[in-house]
Amino acid sequence: MSTGTHLWLPALALWKRDVVRFVRQKNRIIGALATPLVFWLLIGSGVGPGFRLPGMPEDMTYLAYFFPGTVVLILLFTAIFSTISVIEDRREGFLQSVLVAPVAPEAIVLGKFLGGMTLAAGQGFLFCLAAPLAGLPLDAVVLARLVPALLVVGFGLVGLGFLIAWPLESTQGFHAIMNVFLMPLWLLSGALFPAAADSWMRFAVVVNPVAYGTAAVRRAFYGDGAAFGSLPSYGTALAVSFGFAVLMFLLSVWLVRRRRDVS
């Protein structure tokens, strides 16, 4: 933190502002929660109960397999919606006044990350309450694994969105990147189908940070005992997701410090 700048108070203000804004925009709640829900129901039930993929446990329906992937999709959507505002907010909006205030770059990043994480994890958690409908357990053990996973993965995905949004001049650019980069990251995360052991996708899953997020949420529900081929353990998946979140934070601070102005 540079001298003469504030950290915690501005970070908390930015966090509160994001949460208050979100609660007052009903359509955002629908956008981030309803879209993945429809996705889950249509794809999950559309493929039928007899549908099997290599790497999927014997006794599991596809609806149950796809559930953790949908949770990650909710985290990703919320993260995108909460960081896309950064683009316009810097030009004309609240963020302008933040940039000319004696606020440390860390505070700007932390406030935005915490805000996005709260919304993402909160909505992800709401959706998880429907887990028993998919035949998934939701007891104290699952919750104790699930909540840290939602928070850490949410933080990292907001970070990824922020890192993309900050240097951009228009929201159109963000939509393009979302379609060619962010959605494929999710599609190749094992959310929709497990990666076969000998395919090129196996490599994509190993290097894809979102795959560890999906694995963490999946392991939170099933524990480390369930057979999912080469899926990493809960501990490994959470540790990698945590490392990714820290990396996103540090890169974002560096970016804000370097490019405070839009021009």
């Binding site: 540079s2 001298t3 003469g4 700048t5 504030h6 108070l9 501005p10 908390l12 203000a13 930015l14 509160k16 502002r17 208050v20 804004r21 007052r24 925009q25 030009r91 004309e92 909006g93 609240f94 302008q96 006044s97 933040v98 940039l99 000319v100 205030a101 004696p102 606020v103 405070r260 102005d261 021009s263």
Partner: protein
Amino acid sequence: MSHPVETQGLRRVYGTRVALDDVSFAVGAGEIFGLLGPNGGGKTTLFRILSTLLPPSAGTARVGGHDVVSAAPAVRQCLGVVFQSPSLDPLLSVEENLRYGGNLYGLHGAMLEERLREMAEALRVADRLSDRVKTLSGGLQRRVEIAKSLLPQPRVLLLDEPSTGLDPVARVDLWSILEQLRGRFGMTVVLTTHLMDEASRCDRVAILHHGKLLACGTPESLCATIGADVLTLAGRDPDLLAEQLQAKFGWAASVQDGAVRVEIPRAHEQVARIVEAFPGEILSVTAGRPTLEDVFVHMTGERLGGPFFGETAKKGKK
């Protein structure tokens, strides 16, 4: 003691385009200082440099005695900024906007509450604290913006085109508030404007054109540089009339927006002479003391409305 705002040889280049070229000026404590110029004249670039958002390519700018580049956090601590585009969150209430705005400057607790009430009273928005910002008129929103920027009690208040988007009543209101605030808190106000009437209310004005500082002084002293009155004539054929005035009286006449403009001493004494010299040619004559608009035309050969809103003066500049 150093000036609250001063620049020395300030230059900013975007690629090959020079947006600011060797701009030097100093603003005294408690002054209301206007940066006057057309759109594209360099005002916004200067505003962004002073507000620490944009580093200069060369030269220095200091606010509150601190360099805007090497001591940016210190500059931000003593600066209140009101942008042309709104920086309030329309979904939040006035009070929430002010509170979060205060938090950015480290204000909290009883101190924040006290300042918040004080500024809401001073800017006459105390009765709207619980209203969402999106329900307020443009004039009220601008007042809330100013209240927010004053919470940390800045030494210098920077305003970018503060009257833009405001109706005439809200403009008058804004100025009476600015003058009151200056008197009450003793702060220095620097504002950009392309409006002549706004500039003429400033203590001193700097004229910016194509990135260069053409003149700097009180509105009266700038107007006095013309050393003559300004005569504006509407005629049937303005171009011909301008030529004839030049031929018959030897005056340099220019044509702008279909009107002929002449700078001559004691213009009122010449009115009868002119009308008699061109019977039936002249539709109306206006004689007056030069305004800042005239100063701008005199110096640049262009109208203040600039390339977007006005025509370029055609010819005959003295």
